[in-house]
């Protein structure tokens, strides 16, 4: 690592602070208990599903965008789901390259899926192709937004 001198705005030299190792860094979690529609999430399933990929998509219908109360699926952010031997991979995009809610969305997806005993691990893959545009919002999403007075 390059030696860095950290200066306060007044020009006083402060002790060099190395970036902490991942274990010492701030706690990873950012989500408040209210985000992602947690209050409407269904109870974990009792039995493992026959078609886990379809069920994962259903579960993601319960995960709401942090800013608009429609699901990530209806907002058009979910590009694909794969399930193999307890591991789920979710391909998702964001509405903007610097979306301020990226960490919330990742945590909400992970937390909802990890509630299920048949899910051992969740991998979230960020994809940008094709880019998200408003056209990706589903018909149902549009109707939900319209009832809230948001024009799309």
């Amino acid at each position: 690592m390059v030696e860095l001198t950290t200066r306060s705005p007044g020009g006083v030299t402060l002790p060099v602070v190395e970036a902490p190792s991942p274990e010492d860094a701030l706690p990873k979690r950012v989500t408040s208990h209210a985000s992602g529609g947690r209050d409407v999430w269904s109870e974990p399933m009792e039995d493992a599903p026959g078609d886990p990929e379809a069920v994962v998509v259903e579960l993601l219908h319960e995960v709401l965008d942090p800013e608009l109360p429609i699901s990530l699926v209806d907002l058009g952010l979910i590009y694909g789901v794969e399930f193999e031997a307890g591991r789920v991979r979710v391909d998702l995009t964001f509405t903007a390259t610097a979306c301020p809610c990226m960490e919330f969305i990742r945590e909400d997806v992970r937390d909802r899926l990890m509630r299920e005993y048949w899910v051992d691990a969740v991998e979230i893959r960020e994809v940008w192709n094709p880019p998200w545009t408003r056209e990706r919002i589903t018909r149902r999403g549009r109707e939900q937004l319209r009832t809230m007075g948001v024009g799309v």
Binding site: T6, A25, A96, T97, P131
Partner: protein, 262 residues
């Protein structure tokens, strides 16, 4: 191809080095441009203009993040690129080395620097390097808003004598060095052109001219010749100098190193 380290893109060594230089130059320019925009979040001529500057700063940092992440495929550690480099290692454009002193320079920077970055990105997307193509189309979608804001403000400022004078000072200072970074026509750039990964110098210059000439005409400024390569820093793909330390300290997040979360 033989001799390529496993995991690296299958390109000739010279092509890979040049492509890495190009991506790093785009990433660094966007990182520093974001800082220059962010300085005007408050204190712009109107609240609306300041909010627009804030959104543009946000976009630039989003683009920088994606570009740094794409350098992982070239053997780089994106976290080290973002947090551990000295100012002299930054490859950002010369026009961004000092803060934008007034709103006219913000707008001139949005037209000249942001405009050149958009031209360069489009050429890379057309070059068909698949891992980055899709990311760039998202970036260019966001850049369309920067362009319409910048052009509207440019026309507005050009309509007053003082506005035109200040715009002219900035574009005359920045056009030649920016053209050189956009289309250096050095060995590295020519290797990329031969590999089909970006456009030729003539092509890139023509596209840039097409994009901004209508605005330059308002100031009676002609597109200059790019700077020559006498003092060219081939490694970074820019001229001598570097962004001011203060900007690099903010880019690296020096004051928050103990609170690092990535």
């Amino acid at each position: 191809m033989s001799g390529v380290e496993p995991g690296l893109p299958e390109m000739d060594d010279a092509v890979r080095t040049a492509f890495r230089r190009l991506l790093l130059s785009l990433a660094d320019s966007k990182r520093i441009l974001g800082i220059r925009y962010s300085d005007w979040l408050l204190g712009a001529p109107s609240i609306e203009a300041g909010i627009a500057a804030s959104s543009m700063a946000q976009d630039e940092w989003g683009h920088a993040r994606l570009l740094y992440a794409s350098l992982k495929d070239f053997g780089d550690d994106p976290v080290a690129l973002e947090h551990d480099r000295q100012a002299a290692e930054y490859a950002s454009m010369e026009a961004l080395d000092a803060p934008f002193d007034d709103w006219a320079r913000v707008i001139a920077g949005a037209v000249v620097v942001d405009g050149a970055l958009a031209v360069a990105l489009r050429a890379v997307a057309e070059g068909g390097y698949e891992p980055i193509e899709g990311r760039i189309s998202k970036m260019l979608g966001e850049e369309a808003f920067h362009r319409s804001l910048a052009e509207a403000w440019f026309r507005r400022l050009a309509g007053s004598e003082e506005g035109a004078r200040r715009l002219k000072g900035a574009v005359e200072e920045w056009l030649a060095p920016t053209l050189r970074v956009l289309a250096p026509d050095d060995q590295g750039h020519r290797a990329l052109v031969a590999a089909g990964l970006t456009g030729s110098a003539a092509e890139l210059r023509a596209r840039f001219a097409e994009r901004i000439s209508p605005l330059l005409e308002l100031l009676s400024v002609d597109m200059p010749e790019p700077l020559g390569l006498d003092d060219w820093d081939e490694g970074r793909g820019r001229g001598p100098g570097h962004p001011a330390e203060e900007a690099v300290e903010r880019a690296r997040g020096d004051l928050n190193r103990a609170l690092f979360v990535e």
